[in-house]
Every structure is written in C-alpha cells, then in structure tokens.
C-alpha cells in the first residue's frame, strides 16, 4: 500500500493535494485496494460549491457503492472525465491519472485540518 507524501488525508480516505491554487482530490491507495475493482464513478458537476464532509460523488466497485466526501470546503473546478471510459484508473494510479476532482478551496488553510501522510498511514495500519 502506498501513501502520497505530498497529500493530506481525510478519515474517510479521500486525499487532497495542493497544486498551485487548486486542490487535487482522489481516494487513497488503501481505499482503492479495500474497494477492489472499481466499475463506475459518478461525480457532481463543475461549478458546484460544497462544504467539507458533503458528498461530491459516488464510487462503485464489484463489492460496494460508497459516497465520496469533500475533504475541504470549496467549489469544483474540474472533474476527471477519463474515468467514465476507464474507472480502473483509480485502481492503477490513485494519486496520478486516477484523480477525481479539482477543488478551488474557500480557504487553503483548511488543508491543515487533514491528516498528514504519516498519520494517515498509521491510521490505516491499525484498521
């Protein structure tokens, strides 16, 4: 299981990585491994403003369908359209081409409320 050292993590296994003034949001390698083969992803549309903890989409694997939660408040600036044709991108490259949405945060400082990579790795290690 790998952890992206540059990202921060929510308890609900979404990661958030600041790039410029946008935050890249996806699910962790641990989360994709637990879900198993991902077969469908539905994301809210660009422009949607959401609070931290609100649902920004649904991810479905052969095992289960799970809600995706905003790791921080902001508006959706981009969604990863490649996932419609190839949802397995999330399994193969969760931190790379398998990203889900790009968020313009209301306050970039909100990142600090999320877990650092090391703390997240030890949290999932205990599960």
């Amino acid at each position: 299981m790998s952890v992206d050292a540059k990202a921060r993590y929510a308890q609900s296994h979404e990661y958030a990585r600041l790039e410029g003034d946008l935050v890249i949001v996806g699910i962790s390698d641990h989360a994709q491994d637990e879900l198993g083969d991902i077969v469908f992803i539905e994301l809210k549309e660009v422009g949607k403003k959401l609070e931290r903890g609100q649902v920004f989409g649904t991810i479905e694997s052969v095992k289960a369908a799970s809600d995706l939660y905003m790791p921080l408040s902001g508006s959706i600036e981009a969604v990863n359209d490649d996932l419609q044709a190839d949802p397995a991108l999330v399994n193969r490259e969760p931190y790379g081409n398998g990203w889900l949405i790009k968020v313009k945060p209301n306050n970039a400082k909100d990142m600090e409320a999320l877990l650092e990579a090391k703390a997240y790795a030890s949290m999932v290690g205990e599960e």
């Binding site: 083969d37 077969v39 469908f40 052969v62 095992k63 289960a64 799970s66 397995a88 599960e127």
Partner: protein, 477 residues
C-alpha cells in the same frame, strides 16, 4: 443437482416445430393493416415436451432452503413450516374477493385484527399496521410517520436522520424518499454506536435515528435505552429496523426500550420464504403517540364485529387493498402454533446456533469484534496470502453450501456474514464447519483451487468486473 449447462430456448428452437394446434377460425377473417404486418418474428419454435423438459431441468438447478443449507447473513434463510403454506392456500382465504364487504369477511378481518394484536405484543408496541409489502416499505412508512408526528409537534424543521454505519443500505434510501437528509454515526470499538459521536450530532435539526438491533454485525446494541433517551431528550424520535427480529422474538420487546416506531419482516422472521423475490410483508408498529399516524386501513373490533378503517391521522394508503394477505395468514399460523414459549425458542436457538459456528470458526476466520454474537456474526475471509473472501465464498459452492453474505457490512474488511438460523441441526452446522476449515486449509496448500472455484457448477468463476464494466445485455449480439 443437474449440472450440465442448459441451452436457451432460442438455441433449442427448430424451424417448423410447434407446441400447440389452433382450431379453425369460426369468425370471418379480418385484414390486418399492411403497415402492421411482419414477415418474420424472432420467437423460438419448440414442441411442448421440449419446453417441459427445458424448464424442468432449469428447476432442478434451483438452490433453495428445501435442498441445502443457506447461511446468508442478514437474510434469515430459515425453514418455513409447510403447514403454513397449506393454511395460506386454503380456498377460504385465497378466493376472497378484495372488494367483499365486512359482513362477508369477518373471518379474514378477525385474522388481521388478531395478528395486529399478536405482533404489537411481540414488539411491545401500542398498535400495528399490516399494510407495507416489504421491509424497506415498512421503513418508508415509519419515517413518514416520524415526519408527520414532528409536524404535529410543531417541529417540522427537523430534517436530519441519524444512521449508524452498521445500518442496512435501505435506511438512508427510505429517509431520502421521505425528504430527510441523512448523517452517518460511526461505530465504536465494541461494534456499538459511538455515544460521543451521537452526542455531537444531536441538535435542533435532528428528526431522529434509525437503529437496527441487533445491528448488521450481529451485535446487540447494549446502550439502546440510553441512545433512545438521548435522542428523545434532543427532540428526535427513534426508528427501529426490525430486520433482525429473529434474534429477539419472545425475549426482548423493542417498544419497551425507547423505540417509537418499527417494522418487522413477516417474510423471513414469521414464516414466509425469503429471497424468492416476494411477496413480503413489512408490518409497522408504533407506540401510543405515533399510532394515529399508521398507514391504513387497519382492522378494528367494535361491538363484537371486525371492520377496516383508517387511523385518525394516517399517513395514508401504501398498498392496494390489505397488504400481502397470504403472508399475513402464514404469520398468524406461525405465531399461533409456536405460542410465547415457541417464539422465545426461535430467538434462543438462532443465537445459540450462531455462537456455536462462531466459536468453531473464529480461530481460523478472524473476527473484528470478538464479543458473543446474536443470531449472526461477521468473520473475515482473508485466511491466507492472496486469498479474499470471494474465493472462500466460491469454493463453498463446491462443498454444496450456499455462500454467506460477503462484503457487508462495509465496516468489516473482507466481511463474511454468517447466519445459520434456528432451524438447522447440529449435524448440518458441523458439516458446514468441516467445509469451512477444509477450505481454509486448501487456501494455504492449494490456493489455485480457490481462485478457480467453483469447479462443480454449470458455469465456473464469472468475470464480475468485465460484466460490470462492459455489460453485454443482448443474447448473442
């Protein structure tokens, strides 16, 4: 079991074969408009005997509780006594016209009335409606009753329903249909609701909480009275999901523990086979304050006669006529035959059987929550490197057992949810244990056997990922 693959009727079709001979027409032929006439029709051509054999062979592939053990957690796949089938198919019940008047149907109304009384007593509630046709239908009825009750209290602004992370997926769906938004409450380390998280979630927008007890981990919610008191104190109401009532009958009355409204599944718990696609019945029960909101009509006894009428502030009708009457007849017979003592033995033996399996298997199939269970328990199937629960489940088919529920509840990784029910003998439970332990040994000595399983069925391991990602929904094309 008949294990050879069965061709489709389209593959059995031969041009010119017919299964019926129509008599000559005795009315003048009429011309079809040309635009509506087709020259060919893609229907199979078969003779009657081929059709009979085709469907008989298909029926022989059926897997059912009448042929095999079926430990499907959360579904209570127990044996349903055939006597209740005989009662439900009695012409006196099944031939009643649904629009027949009260005076012609006193017997049927008496049955409905008495069943309402029995179920109210079993649950510890004030009143019951037999209208809902399934468990989730009962949930919807219950949350609509909560909505209307809150409006009557002048609390219509309460729109958030709290749902533990160990709940059935139907709970949030029912809330959403009733116009509520939902908020998940995490479980603590003991598998019960985390009381601190609950306390933090309680505020003026909370309409109530939906609790399944025992929960989907098969664990009794030990703080149930405290949780109910906390939610009541905060101005909310408590819904009980009775899907797991099989663990409680005759032992524990949920209505006395602070639950305001609750459904039971009369299918699965009260003697209608479950999992056959219906029909079901998800009766809903309520304490005194909410009784007036029950869906209707329900049966009443007035001046020695039985009649149907709507409760005073009813949420309305949820189903045509009077619910699924045949299911209600089975439930009435079942409760009458067992009596209080027999109902208690259902709960006791279902809990005993589950704990017997848990104790025999827990050294090999690890538990996330190690407490004694109620009627079911959730183990984990990753017994060897590279082996997942799916492999265990598929291999069980080769041993002649229906796999347990897998990957649910979501809070246990590699979940394997086993519910033996009270109707299985010790011999059956022992042979299941033997199979599970043999599979765990194979997982280490011959993992490929598990990866390739099942090996004894008409079709082997299906590619679930390909089926989900690029489904082919047409026959050959």
């Amino acid at each position: 079991m008949n294990l050879s693959p069965e061709p489709l009727v389209f593959e059995l079709s031969r041009p010119g074969l017919v299964g019926c001979s129509l008599p000559g027409s005795d009315v003048p032929a009429a011309q079809m408009p040309k635009a509506l006439v087709r020259s060919s029709l893609d229907l199979p051509e078969l003779d009657e005997l081929t059709v009979v054999r085709h469907f008989t062979r298909l029926s022989q592939k059926n897997y059912s509780i009448d042929t095999h053990f079926y430990p499907l957690g959360s579904c209570t796949m127990k044996y349903n006594p055939k006597a209740n089938e005989a009662a439900a198919s009695h012409p006196g019940w099944k031939n009643i016209h649904p629009l027949a008047g009260n005076s012609e149907t006193q017997g049927a109304l008496e049955l409905l009335y008495k069943l309402q009384e029995y179920l109210a007593e079993i649950g510890g509630f004030a009143a019951v409606s037999l209208q809902p046709a399934a468990g989730a239908h009962g949930e919807l009825a219950g949350v609509l009753m909560i909505r209307d009750c809150l409006k009557t209290r002048g609390q219509g602004h309460r729109t958030t329903m709290l749902i533990p992370d160990s709940a059935h997926g139907t709970n949030p769906a029912s809330c959403t249909m009733a116009g509520f938004s939902t908020q998940t409450i995490p479980s603590g380390k003991d598998g019960n609701i985390d009381l601190k998280a609950l306390e933090a979630a309680l505020n003026d927008s909370v309409a109530g909480i939906m609790i399944t007890n025992p929960n989907t981990l098969g664990l009794f919610e030990r703080n149930i009275t405290k949780i109910a008191a906390m939610v009541h104190q905060a101005g909310g109401l408590v819904y009980g999901d009775g899907a797991n009532m099989n663990a409680l009958t005759g032992v524990f009355q949920p209505g006395k523990s602070g639950i305001d409204v609750m459904h039971f599944n009369l299918h699965k718990t009260f003697s209608t086979p479950h999992g056959g696609g219906g029909p079901g019945a998800g009766m809903v029960a309520a304490v005194k304050e909410l009784a007036a909101f029950l869906p209707g009509p329900i049966a009443w006894r007035r001046a020695g006669k039985y009649e149907l009428a709507m409760p005073e502030k009813s949420i309305g009708r949820l189903k045509a006529f009077y619910g699924n009457f045949g299911v209600l007849v089975r439930a009435y017979c079942y409760v009458s035959m067992l009596g209080a003592e027999g109902l208690r033995r259902i709960a006791e033996n279902s809990v005993l059987n589950a704990n017997y399996l848990r104790a025999k298997l827990e050294k090999t199939y690890k538990l996330k929550y190690t407490r004694p269970c109620m009627h079911e328990f959730v183990a984990m199937g990753d017994v060897a490197p590279g082996i997942r629960t799916l492999d265990i489940a598929k291999r069980l088919i080769d041993y002649g057992f229906h796999p347990p529920t897998i990957y649910f509840p979501l809070i246990v990784p590699e979940a394997l949810m086993i519910e033996p029910t009270e109707t299985e003998s010790k011999q059956t439970l022992d042979s299941f244990v033997e199979a599970m332990l043999a599979i765990a040994a194979e997982a280490k000595s011959n993992p490929e056997l598990l990866h390739d399983a099942p090996g004894t069925t008409p079709v082997g391991r299906l590619d679930e990922v390909a089926a989900a990602r690029s489904p082919v929904l047409c026959f050959r094309g």
